[in-house]
Amino acid sequence: MRVLIKVPLSWVREHVDVTATAAELAQALHMSGTEVARVEHVGDAWEQVWVGRIAALAPHPNADKLTLATVEYGAGRVKTVVTGATNLTVGAVVPYAASGARLRDGHAPAGGEPVWITLEPRKLRGVQSEGMVCSALELGLGADHDGILVLDPGLPVGAPLADVLGETILHLELQPNRPDCLGVRGIAGEVSALYRLPLRATALEPISFGTLDPSLLSVRIEDAAACPRFTAAYLEDVRIGPSPRWLQERLTAAGMRPIDIVVDVTNYVMLELGQPLHAYDATKLRGRMLVARRAQSGETLRTLDDAERTLDPGVLVIADAERPLGLAGILGGEDSEIVPTTTTVALEAASFEPRGIGTTAAALGLQSSSGSAAARRFAWSLSTALPPVALARAVGLLREHAGARLVGAIDVDPSGASERRAAVTLRFSDVLRVLGVAIPDAEITDALLRLGFTVLVSGERLTVTAPAIRTDIAIAEDVVEEVARIVGYDRIPTRSPSGTLPVHEAHPVEEFRERARDVLVECGLQEIVSASLIDPAWLALLTADGTPIAPSPLVVRNPTSTDRSVLRTTLRASILDAARRNLKHRPGVALFEIAPIYLPRHGQLPDERPMCAILLAGAAGPVIAGETYLGAGRAFDLHDIQGVLDALGRTLRISGQGEPEAGPGLHPGRSRAIRSDGRIVLLFGQLDPRVALRWDLPENTFLMEFDVRMVHADVGAGGAAVPPRFPEAYRDVACVVEDKILYGDLVREIRASQKSGLEQVALLDLYRGPQVGPGKKSFAVRLTFRSAEGTLTDADLDRALSRIAGRLRHALGAEIR
C-alpha cells in the first residue's frame, strides 16, 4: 500500500529556499518519481477576509447573548459586527470577513458535505452587522466552531488572511523504497536536488550521549537484530500544556491532531524527519529501565487505543524491569503514558527491523492508514542514523517550548549501525548499459552530488555513498536510477530492441482452445467470462439430489464475500447463473465459456484444466421479445446442441468416440457423456429438468461441456477434400425396425456393409404409426454412392443395395420396404 502524506509547502521552504510555484513543484516531483496525488490550497477561498483586531466590545442593546464588536483591519478601516462568541477580548487578533467573503456555513449539520455561503450585510436584532468575525470551521481550517479563532497577536493587522494563514499542502503518495520521503526534510532533499538549491543546515544543537546516570534511566537491547539501535533522553521539569500555535498549525495542516506539547513534539519530529519517537512518564518505569525484548508467553498490555492485548510470544516489546510498556515501534501502553501532571519524561528514538514491525502490525490490523502512524513508517527501512538526530531535535523543541531540562542521553548501538553506510561501486558505462543512453560522466557525477551523495571517481569507476537517510541505494542499478531521475527519464531514447529473436515453442492446446472459441462464435454463441471464484452453495445445486458433479474445491481463507469463496471445479454453475440472469430480459440465450477449472492435487499446486461449457436455452431464434410477425420462432431442442457438437466435430475434428453413458446432472435419457481414463471428456444433452427448475431455467435448457486438453489429445487426422471427378448416384431405402434400434445402429450397419463408395447417409424420414404397427418405427434413408474410379451403373447400385439390405435384415431384424 502506498502511504499518503500531507506536506505543507511552507515547511518544505523552511528547509530549502525554493521559489517555484506549487504546480511547478508538483510536476517536478511527479516526473522524478514522487507521486503528487493532489495540491491543496488552504485559504484560496478567503477573499475579503482580513487580519482584524478587536478595538472595542459593547453589549447588544436588544439581546443579552449578543455582543457588538468593533474590529479594525488596517488604517482607517473599522467596522462593527454582531457576534454571539464569548471568547473575545479587546486587543485580540481575529479573522474578520467583510461582506462578499465566502465562508463555510457553521450551522450546517456536522459531518455532512461543507456548505459555503457568501456573506451579506444583515441586521441582527435591530443592529446592522458589517461582516463577521470567524471560527476555524467557517474558514475551512478545521472542525472548531466553539468560538472565534484567536490568532497570533503578532500578525499584521489589515493583511489579507490568506497572506498570513494561507497554506499550500502537497498530498504525496510514497512508495516503500523511499522512507526518506516520509519526512519533510527528505522531500526538501528531493527539491534541493531537482532545483540545484542548497538544503539549509538545521540549527540543531547536538546532544551528548553517554551522559546519563543509570540510576535515572538505563537502556538494554536483548535482540539486536530486531532492534539495532536505541537512543533515549531523560528530561526533567517538563511542563505539559498546549503546543505553540505555529506547531499546532503545522500538525493540523499535515493531518494530525494537536494534543499536548510532548505528544505534539514527537509527532512534529516524526513528520519533519520521518523518525517516530515515543515518550514515557519516566517515574512510571519500574527499575528505571527500558528494554527492547521479545514478549513472553502470557504477557498482556493495555495499549493506548484502549485495548487489552495478550501478546504473542516473540513479538518485540519495549519493557521496563517488570512488564511490557508498549509494542515496539507500533503502539504505546497506558501504564507509562504522559499525563498532565508528568514532569519527568523518557524519550525514545529507536530503530526496528522493518519486516518484524510489518508482520506484527498486519497481524494486529494496525498497518493501515487508520492504524499506527509509527508502524507504517517503521515497516519501511528507516535509516539507523536517524534516532540520535530525531532525539536531538525533539529535545531542542521541548527545551524551548516546555521548559524541559536535559539530564542526560544514551545511545545503545550494539551492532555499530551508526557506522554502517554502504558504498556502491559502479562504472560510468553502467549508465549507458542500463538506460541505453550515454550521459556524460560529469553530468552523472553532478546528478549524484545534487542528491547529496558523496562520489569518488577513479578513472572509469565511481564509488558512491548515499546520504544516510537513503536506505534504498544498494546496487549499481539503484545509482543508475538516481541519475536517470535527476537528468530526467525523458533523456532515455525510444529504440527497437536488437538481438537474436528467440525460437518460439508450439502451443497446440492453447491454439486448439482459441480455435474452439472461434468456432463457437461462428456458431452464433456469445462468449462469457465469469468469476472463477464462486459460491460453494452452487456446487450442491447441480444435480437433483445434490450429489456433486466435481471434486471438493480449493477454498479461499480470506474471501471478500461468500459468493466468491471457492475456486470453481466446474464451469456449469457459472453458465447456469449467466443464463438465468439473461433470461430475465430475453427469450433465449446461446452462451459459452472457456476457462480453467481448479482441481486439487496431493502435494502440489492444483490442476488448472481448461474446460469449455456451452448452453442453449429458450427461444432458438434471436428474436427480440414479442416480435412474432415473421412467425413465433422455434425453441432450442436437443438437436441444436447436437448441431454444435457436429460443428465442432467438422471444424475441429473432435471425434466424440467412446462408450457413452448419461451425463451427471443431465436428463438421463437425453444426454450422453464420454469417458476416458475414468474421467468425463465430453458430455452433452438436456439439463435435468429438476435442476433447471432450481435455477429458474426453462425445461429446454441444453448443455455441452468438454475438457479442452483431453478432447484435443483425441483429435483425428484431417485433410482437405478434392472435389470428386465422377457423378454421385443415390438410392432411397425404407426399413422398419424395432423401436429400440437406434438410428446410429442403422448407420453403423450400413457403413459396415459398404466399406467404400458410400458417400453419405441422409435421414429422409422417421415414422412411427399405424403403417408400421406398434413397437416399431420406420427409417427412410437416402444413400449417396460415388466411386473414385468411374460412373456407377445401375448394376453396381443394385449389388450394393442388396448387400446392405441383407445386413440390415440379419443384424437388426429390419424389414426392408
Partner: protein
C-alpha cells in the same frame, strides 16, 4: 404481281405496325397479318414463281430479307411490351423495407478475450511468444522470488487471497491466488535460457472491494525480454510500438520513475490520450477516457532486478532485460469505451453484444 419496290413498301407498313403495337395480342395480330399462313408477305413470297427467271433471284433475296427484318422487329417488340408489363407489375410490388428484419443469431467473443488476443498479437510482431501460467501460485513465485519477502512493505500493496486445499495444507509452503502475472517472469526464466521474449496474459486476484475501476478477479498482461544488450531504451521502444498499434496515431510518451521491488530502475509509461489527444477535454467537457489528465497510464515496467536474475541462475554481468505489465480490463475499457470494470464480469448480454 409484286416487285421489289412493293416489297419495300410492305416492309415499311409492317414495321410501322409492329412499332405501334401496344401489347402482346396486337403484336400477334401483326405477325398473323404479314407472316401467317395467308399473310401478306407469305403471299408475296409465293408469287415468286410467277416472275420471270431473271427477276426471281433478286426478288427472293429481298423478300427473305424483309421477312427476317420483320421477325427481328417482332422479337424486339415482344421484349418491349413484356418489359413494360414487368415494370408495371414491379411498380405494384412495393415492399415495406422499414419492417424488422429476420434476425440472425450472431456470436461474439468477450471483450476480455479480444483484448488479450490483441495484446498477444501486437507483442508477437515484436517477437514475444505468448505463454500461460498457474493462477493458483506458491508464495515463493508470487512474492519471494520477486524480492518481496514476508513482512516486506510492498506486500501491503498486493492484498492477497490465500488458498486452503481440501486435500491438506503445508504451512511451510503457503498457497495463494496470484496477485499479478509477474510470477511467470521467474517460471519462464527458470525453464529457459536467454534470449527470452514472452508475453503472459492471465487472471489475477486481489482482496479488493470492487468499484468502477477495481475487481477482485481481473486480468493482466506481462511482457518479459532478456538478452545481452537490452536497456531501458529498448523497453521504451517496445512499449511505444505497443501503444501505437493499440491506440493508433503518433503518440506522445510520458516515462517517469516508479517503484516495483522486482525491477530496477522502474518506470511508469503513459501516452497522450487517443480521444482528446492529450488536451484533457472533449466537446462534451472533461475527457472521460483519460479522466481529464490528458495521459493514459499504460504499463508499469522496468529493468529486471539483478537479484531476480541471480535467483534463477543467470549472470547479471552477461544478461539483462526488461519487464512490463498492465491491466487487460483497463485496456478493454479504453478500447470499448466501457465506463465500469464490473461490467466485464456481469455476463449481461446487453453489454456483451455491444462491447
Amino acid at each position: 404481281m409484286a416487285n421489289v419496290t412493293d416489297l419495300m413498301i410492305m416492309r415499311e407498313q409492317a414495321l410501322a405496325a409492329v412499332q405501334g403495337a401496344p401489347d402482346v395480342a396486337e403484336l400477334e395480330a401483326v405477325r398473323v397479318r404479314w407472316l401467317g399462313r395467308s399473310g401478306l408477305l407469305t403471299a408475296a413470297l409465293r408469287s415468286v414463281a410467277a416472275l420471270p427467271i431473271e427477276e426471281r433471284r433478286a426478288f427472293g433475296a429481298a423478300a427473305n430479307q424483309v421477312k427476317a427484318d420483320l421477325e427481328l422487329a417482332l422479337d424486339q417488340g415482344s421484349a418491349r411490351v413484356r418489359g413494360a408489363a414487368t415494370l408495371a407489375q414491379f411498380a405494384s410490388e412495393q415492399a415495406d423495407l422499414s419492417l424488422p428484419p429476420r434476425r440472425l443469431r450472431l456470436g461474439r467473443l468477450h471483450p476480455i478475450s479480444r483484448t488479450i488476443r490483441e495484446v498477444s498479437r501486437i507483442l508477437a510482431t515484436m517477437g514475444f511468444e505468448t505463454v500461460e501460467g498457474p493462477e493458483v501460485e506458491s508464495d515463493y513465485y508470487n512474492f519471494e522470488a520477486l524480492n518481496i519477502p514476508r513482512g516486506h512493505p510492498a506486500r501491503d500493496k498486493f492484498n492477497t487471497l490465500w488458498v486452503s486445499d481440501p486435500l491438506g495444507d503445508d504451512p511451510e509452503r503457503p498457497v495463494l491466488l496470484r496477485t499479478h502475472t509477474s510470477p511467470m517472469q521467474i517460471r519462464v526464466m527458470e525453464s529457459r535460457r536467454p534470449p527470452i521474449r514472452v508475453c503472459v496474459p492471465g487472471r489475477c486476484y486481489r482482496f479488493e472491494a470492487t468499484d468502477a475501476t477495481h475487481e477482485s478477479v481481473f486480468f493482466q498482461y506481462e511482457g518479459l525480454a532478456i538478452d545481452e544488450q537490452l536497456s531501458m531504451a529498448d523497453l521504451k521502444g517496445v512499449l511505444y510500438s505497443f501503444a501505437r498499434q493499440l491506440f493508433g496515431g503518433e503518440r506522445k510518451v510520458k516515462f517517469r520513475p516508479d517503484y516495483f521491488p522486482f525491477t530496477e530502475p522502474s518506470a511508469e509509461i503513459a501516452f497522450d490520450c487517443f480521444v482528446c489527444n492529450g488536451g484533457g477535454r472533449t466537446n462534451s467537457g472533461a475527457c472521460r477516457t483519460c479522466g481529464g489528465s490528458g495521459w493514459i497510464e499504460a504499463a508499469g515496467c522496468g529493468m529486471v532486478h539483478p537479484a531476480a536474475l541471480r535467483r534463477v541462475g543467470y549472470d547479471p554481468e552477461r544478461h539483462q532485460g526488461f519487464a512490463f505489465g498492465g491491466g487487460i480490463e483497463r485496456l478493454a475499457m479504453l478500447l470499448t469505451g466501457t465506463p465500469d470494470i464490473r461490467l466485464f464480469q456481469t455476463n449481461d448480454l446487453r453489454f456483451l453484444e455491444t462491447a
